[in-house]
Symmetry: C2
Subunit: 284 residues, 2 copies
């Protein structure tokens, strides 16, 4: 059998995601970048996209190239446009290196404002042993052609989000109640996920994947903005080609905050990333 790849299919290293996360080294540990308006939700720059941009800078600043664990604290809202990233190497080791990175932009008064700060440990995913004793199971939900994405709605949502044009997102119908005005009340969200241009997932795009679905808060009946305070990702394996399955769960909505756990599974049924975020909720 011959598999036909469309001539337009983007590849890892040559895709919109790669161009929009590019960083240019200005000086030792200092990088310029330009946050694209293509990864916004209404006007907010997606937190996972920001993580990928910072991840690119750290992959250059550290002797290892794969993010193993990245912890981000979101300080102020980023905007599309120029930004500078300053990195600092905390420790370099044989198998792991740790560093930090901060992204800055100028505010309307010309003052530099820090948007996000991350601490991260990097390694080499390809050097890890093959043992897998995972007891977690992949999420069970319908095949992609029976799931639904933003493109399947009757009319485009007004003030819509340009990130939806860049994602292949097909949501499990059982976590879509919110879109029909009938949220399930369960803190769950599941979807098939890829990049719309067909670029396969890699460790860097997993940083985007953990924060690319609608928030579980929607299924909990909360329709407002749920800003991320802190997000930590563990990348556990290089993903196989093909679409990802992402499963989000919230177990504790209390005191105006919630946690959101993500699992990302690849086409080979391997758990390739796990994340947890703390987000703020404004209850009506």
């Amino acid at each position: 059998m011959t598999q036909v790849t469309p001539a337009t299919q983007a590849t890892i290293g040559d895709s919109e995601f790669d161009r929009d996360t590019a960083v240019t080294r200005r000086d030792e540990g200092v990088y310029d970048t330009d946050l694209s308006a293509g990864w916004t939700i209404t006007n907010a720059v997606n937190g996972g996209y920001l993580l990928a941009v910072l991840g690119r800078a750290l992959a250059d600043a550290l002797p290892h190239s794969d993010p193993f664990t990245v912890s981000a604290h979101y300080l102020t809202a980023s905007r599309p446009g120029p930004a500078v990233i300053r990195t600092d190497v905390a420790r370099t080791g044989r198998t792991l290196s740790t560093g930090q990175a901060s992204l800055f932009q100028y505010d309307d008064n010309g003052h530099e404002v820090e948007r996000i700060r991350v601490l991260a440990s990097y390694g080499d995913l390809d050097s890890l042993p093959d043992d897998v004793r995972t007891t977690a199971k992949p999420p069970v939900f319908p095949p992609m052609d029976r799931c639904f994405g933003p493109q399947d709605g009757p009319t485009p949502v007004s003030g819509s989000s340009s990130i939806t044009e860049r994602l292949m997102l097909k949501l499990d119908p059982s976590t879509l109640g919110w879109a029909l005005g009938a949220p399930s009340g369960k803190g769950e969200m599941r979807a098939w996920l890829g990049l719309a241009d067909g670029r396969d997932a890699d460790p860097l795009s997993l940083l985007l994947a953990v924060d690319a679905l609608p928030p579980t808060a929607f299924e909990l009946g909360i329709s407002g903005w749920v800003p991320t305070i802190e997000l930590t990702v563990h990348v556990r394996s290089r993903p196989a080609p093909g679409p990802l399955r992402v499963s989000l769960i919230t177990r504790n909505l209390a005191g105006g905050f919630l946690e959101e756990d993500a699992e990302v599974w690849d086409s080979a049924d391997r758990l390739v990333a796990q994340s947890r975020q703390l987000a703020r909720v404004r209850l009506g």
Copy 2:
């Protein structure tokens, strides 16, 4: 009914834990401390105790006093003895402030070595609304008098750990197979937990609580050292007086790493803290 409190019962602010996590401000944002040998496991300083020491420094450096989310990357192994903590304030806001802290010690050659670096967001737990929509349930396991701790063993373990003298730790018998040479194979560990001197839990001691149980790796049949690479805690509520219940779960042991999730429940059945760590495993 009258509840009799022993005259020797320690209190929040006046206990060994408080004395051993004390920091002294040397300069703006710089703190001296002395890591106690009382919180070691064999020779290693417990990672949760270290987190509490750094948490004390950040509570002083930031305008808010309660840790909401703390992300720690462990760089090199700490030793009992003097240490210096350097903090940096990233952002102060009305409800949340974010900062970072690093703990340094001198190595045998007199060089300063960084042991651990944390990024943390602090707030005021008492200012949060009362809403609780938690779907998570407290772990179910036997009452304390039918659980077992290090003191219940026939003989003290040689090279034993001084931290065990400072903890009230009573493990669920169903997660104790490892101690009898028959690990369950399930990545679970559950225990009643308190401080041995009767000091009640507070947000700071929750940073200790999430890393105070034997690792889930023991029940997975791994007997070696499982060093923490990264640990993030979310403190969600001020704990009620009385013993805590701590439940650990590992779902993904693969490629020489595992994640360990902790839930900490207080005596009022409230989920007061959640944590996740990435740890390294050396398989035999």
